[in-house]
Symmetry: C2
DNA sequence: ACAGTATTTAGATATTTGTCTAAATAACTA
DNA sequence: TAGTTATTTAGACAAATATCTAAATACTGT
């Protein structure tokens, strides 16, 4: 839960999730959507992956990333308890 | 949205929300639930208030804080778009 | 007016975070 | 094998964050 909120607390990472919502993308394709360096994007992908919000699968030289929305259910549940 | 995720990205602040879910509390009563200093709690309350997740109303020397869960709808909506 | 209580503001400090460049790893291609 | 491409890892650095103590503000009651 801690990791999820941390992962969501960054505009770049939220945008990455929005991109991956539409389609799976490689690390490079994701980086092309931003003006920050590839190592920085790689770092963001690492944080998203640690939170289990995305998964990366290596295919040759590429790593294909996909979103995992099931983990968001934990957030939904927690938020719902606040609304009683 | 930025402010909400920032506010939620801290264990102490999430616990404060859980406390306020049950009942309205004064700043001092909230602080009594934690082992950190009152100024630190005051700072957390400020961040929660800026995110509009709580509201404080002054009554004499006390400030009564209450939760505002309607703002969470924005988070729900955003999270739901990720699940398509 | 004075002393006590509730809370915040100010300023300092250590830790975490996001970013960068340079280098390393891994895979493809000729 | 050598060169190119895709991605990550390592190390440095500035900005943001959480915390603290001390002081300021505001209200209460005598």
């Amino acid at each position: 839960m801690k990791d999820i909120f941390k992962a969501l607390n960054d505009e770049t990472r939220r945008e990455i999730l929005e991109l991956l919502k539409k389609e799976d993308l490689t690390a490079g394709e994701i980086a092309d959507n931003f003006s920050i360096s590839k190592p920085s994007i790689s770092h963001h992908l690492d944080i998203l992956q640690r939170a289990d919000l995305i998964a990366g699968e290596k295919k040759g030289q590429f790593i294909h990333y996909s979103i995992n929305t099931t983990i968001l259910d934990d957030v939904f549940t927690w938020l719902l308890t606040l609304k009683k």
